[in-house]
């Protein structure tokens, strides 16, 4: 956890921190420290458990004291890596691909849409915005089956596309981008760019995008996590397990049917390994994690 302290806490470029100096002068509060540590302990406990459990072999997982670590972590990782010729790592790569490409594309699409909704007046704006808002409320789980049936009509199921394309549209991302664009891109700057002769695309790419950068990273992270953790869509869309993301793959290891033992040690080890990339991403980009759900409302 030393890593975290190395990362500066200053909020992203979007807004200057309103108060920096006042922190050091405050008296420390043991109550605050204890409460925060309790919260941290509650959140870390299951993670600690999975860390310990992944060091046990199959027998130990069900027979030894639950919190006493064992020595089989590397054996477990090897068993998992050997499973059907390293399929697990292919699942991890697939997850990285779905989440990485999907989130990047989603960020761009959302940024363009959010920028347009925040900074232009045009007929149909309110209708479009309300439509997208309504999209925020539709559970993704419900959409997976009709999405499958429709994609099957164009023969796109069981491909990378079938998971990527539906992941790109994120009403929530558009909603956030609209807030970020409204809050961080001053209208005069856009006007100035226009007066200088910049076109709409140039203004967006050269002026607005850099200003929205802090918010865009948030949208990227948000969508990355959403895609990485998504289960239902790839579960329905994919038949070939070489295309599975890690969530669907792990669930398959767990649900082998009655005549096969569930591969609990591999699942536990796989679960641990699958969390690591996300945690690393969080720590690396945590200064961008500022989700200003209501910035628009505050300003209004």
């Amino acid at each position: 956890m030393t890593l975290t302290t190395a990362v500066p806490v200053t909020p992203a470029a979007a807004k200057p921190a309103p108060r920096v100096g006042s922190r050091g002068n405050l008296r420390r509060s043991p109550t605050a420290t204890v409460l925060l540590l309790l919260g941290a302990a509650y959140c870390l406990f299951p993670v600690l458990w999975v860390l310990i459990a992944s060091t046990k072999n199959a027998g130990e997982l069900f027979s030894t004291l639950t919190l006493s670590p064992s020595t089989h972590l590397f054996d477990n990782v090897r068993t998992l890596s050997d499973y059907r010729g390293g399929l697990y790592w292919r699942w991890m790569l697939n997850s990285a691909l779905y989440a990485g490409v999907g989130a990047a594309a989603s960020m761009l699409v959302s940024a363009m849409a959010g920028f347009a909704l925040a900074k232009y007046a045009f007929p149909g704006k309110s209708a479009i915005f309300n439509l997208i808002l309504a999209g925020v409320l539709v559970p993704g789980v419900l959409l997976a089956v009709p999405q499958y049936l429709l994609l099957a009509k164009v023969g796109m199921t069981n491909t990378y596309w079938s998971v990527l394309l539906p992941s790109i549209i994120s009403p929530y991302g558009i909603y956030l981008c609209r807030i970020f664009a409204a809050a961080t891109v001053p209208t005069d700057v856009l006007e100035a760019a226009r007066i200088d002769g910049a076109g709409d695309w140039r203004t967006f790419g050269r002026v607005a995008l850099p200003m929205m950068r802090g918010g865009l990273v948030t949208v990227f992270l948000f969508q990355f996590v959403a895609i990485w953790n998504n289960f239902m869509l790839p579960y329905i869309m994919l038949g070939d397990d070489h295309l599975y993301p890690v969530t669907v793959g792990l669930s398959g290891l767990l649900n082998q049917g009655a005549s096969q033992p569930a591969m609990y040690t591999s699942v536990v080890t796989g679960a641990l390994l699958s969390i690591i990339p996300l945690v690393a991403l969080f720590l690396a980009l945590q200064r961008y994690w500022r989700v200003d759900l209501a910035a628009g409302a505050v300003k209004a």
Binding site: V9, P18, R19, S22, L26, R28, A32, T33, L35, L36, L37, G39, C43, L44, F45, P46, W49, A53, L61, F62, L65, T66, L67, M112, A113, F115, A116, A118, K119, Y120, A121, F122, L131, I132, G135, L137, V138, P139, L142, L143, Q147, P166, I169, T187, R194, D200, W228, N229, T247, Q286, W289, R290, V291, D292, L293, A294, A297, V298, K299, A300
Partner: protein
């Protein structure tokens, strides 16, 4: 917010071009599936005789019979009541904890802030399926360190997945997974409050608690409202946690929540038509609940800038 910068100009194609990719994807992967779901909810399959052999199965119009069947299913009402109770547990506890942690972080009276913030946010990185698997291990008496510890301390541990605790057991997973995200949202809002708004109060001798209650919380109320709306939506859609825990106990039925009923109808019973009808009802309820809530609190969070 200031007026949009093209207000005074004639209509231009640019905003539509910016919106085009989003709208095309929206149409293809949200609007079309929704319309298709509504269509499916009005259809059903009829079979003839034994229903074996080609051609014995046809799709016909069903009117509203799928809706009627869905809503009169004896499992439907209990599942709706159950998520009501679940929401009444999860939303206040999760948001209460998130707010408390955010205020503690924001007050800046501790050295463990960065560590705690990261730790509390960490569960957000854990997929719900994996989180439920982990907590499942922690709930089952024979493999649970919690039960071990309680027994060691001479306390008779409750049966976490028994009928009187199971709702709390599922709620706990949601609280565990969701507190961090909401904490970050609220913390972001707290950090945006200019310090002069409460430095004066502090000089007048107001305590941190008074500052929090009288100044900070009212200012971040819009963020609280939004976290509340999103938590309510998530409540209606609770699915992965009970679904993963279900095989571990007798107390979680296949229709434990409305979305589980959709899943059962669509995937276990292969009755996609009833599933579609129930989906439509859930979606409509989501709209009603979120907009109803916003209306009640009078928030302008979803309103537009101009």
């Amino acid at each position: 917010m200031r007026a949009s910068f093209s207000r005074t100009r004639p209509a231009r194609p640019a905003p539509y071009a910016f919106l085009a990719p989003a709208l095309i994807l929206f149409a293809a992967f949200l609007a079309a599936p929704i319309v298709y779901t509504v269509y499916l909810s009005l259809r059903k399959v009829r079979v003839k005789g034994l229903g074996l052999g080609a051609g014995s199965r046809t799709e016909v119009w069903a009117g509203l019979s799928n809706y009627a069947r869905s809503m009169t299913d004896p499992d439907w009402l209990p599942s709706v009541e159950r998520i009501g109770a679940y929401g009444a547990i999860v939303v206040p506890i999760m948001l209460g904890l998130a707010l408390l942690m955010a205020l503690l972080l924001d007050a800046g009276r501790t050295r463990v802030g960065t560590f705690a913030r990261t730790a509390i946010f960490l569960p957000y990185a854990v997929p719900a399926v994996v989180a439920s698997l982990l907590w499942g291990f922690l709930y089952l008496p024979r493999v649970s360190p919690i039960v071990d510890a309680m027994q060691g301390a001479g306390i008779t541990p409750p049966n976490f997945l028994g009928s009187s605790w199971v709702l709390w057991a599922v709620a706990n997973i949601a609280v565990w997974g969701g507190t961090g995200f909401n904490m970050i949202v609220l913390y972001t809002a707290l950090r945006a409050i200019p310090s002069d708004l409460f430095e004066a109060a502090r000089l007048d001798g107001a305590s941190d608690i008074q500052i929090a209650l009288r100044i900070k919380i009212p200012i971040i109320a819009p963020s609280l409202v939004m976290t509340c709306v999103f938590s309510l939506i998530a409540t209606l859609q609770v699915f992965a946690e009970p679904m993963t825990l279900r095989p571990l106990s007798n107390t979680i039925s296949t229709t434990w929540t409305p979305l589980m009923k959709v899943f059962r109808d669509a995937f276990t019973r292969n009755d996609i038509y009833s599933a579609a009808a129930t989906s439509v009802v859930i979606a409509v309820a989501s709209f009603a609940l979120s907009f109803g809530f916003l209306k009640i609190v009078g928030a302008r969070a979803f309103s537009q800038e101009d």
